[in-house]
């Protein structure tokens, strides 16, 4: 068995890389795959809290790389999913304490036993970014529909291409369909035109994602959450399924138009 390593990156911080990594990891594990998610944000680790595993950390990525523990000892099993593991970042070190080669070697070993390795990349385009993209065969770029995030995404796509990670796929996070409809937010077609990349998925802004993350549970486990459904579709697409993009158009019946004209913003979605 030879697994696939995918890096989740963005350039800009705070656009949802870590949440995306956790949900894609859980989504692929829910589909029956053996998955490891790896936090490479050394010094600023967060994937552990997002997944609710922060109290179980004994060893971390740097311990494994520097030989203070066996690789298996740095892997923490998920609370819900038997086939999902986390390798946490070190919190008291920095990005320069490991090299891209070391991380690539570690991932090569894991690829023998797992179907998917999902790497959570730190923000920025410095050493931490270089380390994170080193082992990857595929790249996912996360952005939000904001000018700063899109500009940084463009820069990162250029760097990925230069590193021969061709055809990175884009996730647009925190879309607000009501604002798109009002002409106050860039829509997916605008962003695709600007960045000239393929779309992997659209994720709506969703309060349920915040409450799920507060509890350390990836939102994909919340069956009522639209963002969770969006991540399930993204996982399916990564897995090779041809699933249509989520339809995030707000419902547009007569009453919705009346509400709209009256300035009442209801974020209702339709989805297949």
């Amino acid at each position: 068995m030879k697994g696939k390593t995918i890096v989740v990156t963005s350039g800009k911080g705070g656009v949802g890389k870590t949440t995306t990594t956790a949900n894609i990891g859980a989504g692929l594990a829910l589909r029956g795959h053996r998955v490891v998610v790896i936090d490479t944000d050394i010094g600023l680790r967060n994937l552990d809290v997002v997944m609710g595993l922060e109290n179980r950390i004994v060893y971390d990525l740097v311990d494994a790389i520097e030989g203070r523990c066996k690789l298996s000892q740095a892997m923490i099993r998920d609370r819900q999913l038997q086939e999902l593991y986390l390798i946490p970042a070190a919190q008291t070190r920095d990005k320069n304490c490991i090299s891209a080669e070391q991380l690539t070697d570690l991932c090569h070993n894991l690829e023998q036993e797992f179907d998917y390795l999902i790497i959570d990349c730190p923000a920025g385009i410095e050493q931490g970014f270089r380390n994170a993209i080193g082992p990857a065969q595929e790249a996912i770029v996360v952005t939000t529909p904001e000018v700063s995030a899109i500009r940084d995404a463009d820069r990162v796509i250029g760097l990925l291409e230069a590193a021969e990670l061709h055809h990175p796929r884009l996730i647009i996070n925190r879309i607000r369909p009501g604002m798109v409809k009002r002409g106050d937010m860039l829509d997916k077609d605008d962003i695709v035109e600007l960045l000239a990349v393929d779309i992997l998925g659209l994720v709506p802004a969703d309060d349920r994602l915040i409450t799920a993350t507060n509890q350390g549970v990836p939102v994909i486990h919340d069956k009522k959450a639209l963002s969770g459904m969006a991540f399930a579709r993204i996982a399916a697409r990564i897995d090779g399924d041809d699933v249509p993009l989520m339809d995030l158009e707000p419902k547009s019946g007569l009453m919705d138009r009346v509400r709209y004209l009256m300035g009442i913003n209801r974020s209702e979605y339709t989805h297949a």
């Binding site: 000018v147 899109i150 500009r151 463009d154 820069r155 250029g158 798109v180 409809k181 009002r182 002409g183 106050d184 937010m185 860039l186 829509d187 605008d190 600007l194 960045l195 547009s252 007569l254 138009r257 009346v258 004209l261």
Partner: protein
């Protein structure tokens, strides 16, 4: 009265209006990305382009392989491919009448 109000602007008109914040964001980003990409343009890419363009021109014109210049230049918010290629001998088809 209500139906007239509802028909006045369709959702697409609102979404695509040139003065809304989405259109402003798109235009600003388009310009910013072009500038960023221009600033990051590598000499190797321009060399490759020059070689390919020169090869294409050579299929139609007898050009001086020594005398040519090519660059991508920025003027205000537009970008131009500026090329200067010396033609060795003017072909007959170019003569007027």
């Amino acid at each position: 009265m209500l139906s007239k109000l509802l028909r006045s602007r369709t959702p697409n008109d609102i979404r695509d209006a040139p003065d809304n914040s989405r259109s402003i964001a798109k235009n600003r980003l388009n310009a910013a990305l072009s500038r960023d990409r221009y600033d990051l343009l590598s000499p190797g890419v321009v060399e490759l382009l020059e070689r390919d363009v020169l090869a294409a021109i050579s299929r139609h014109l007898d050009v001086d392989s020594e005398f040519h210049e090519m660059e991508i230049r920025r003027l205000n918010d537009s970008f131009y491919l500026v090329a200067s290629v010396r033609i060795q001998a003017m072909p007959r088809w170019a003569a007027a009448s």
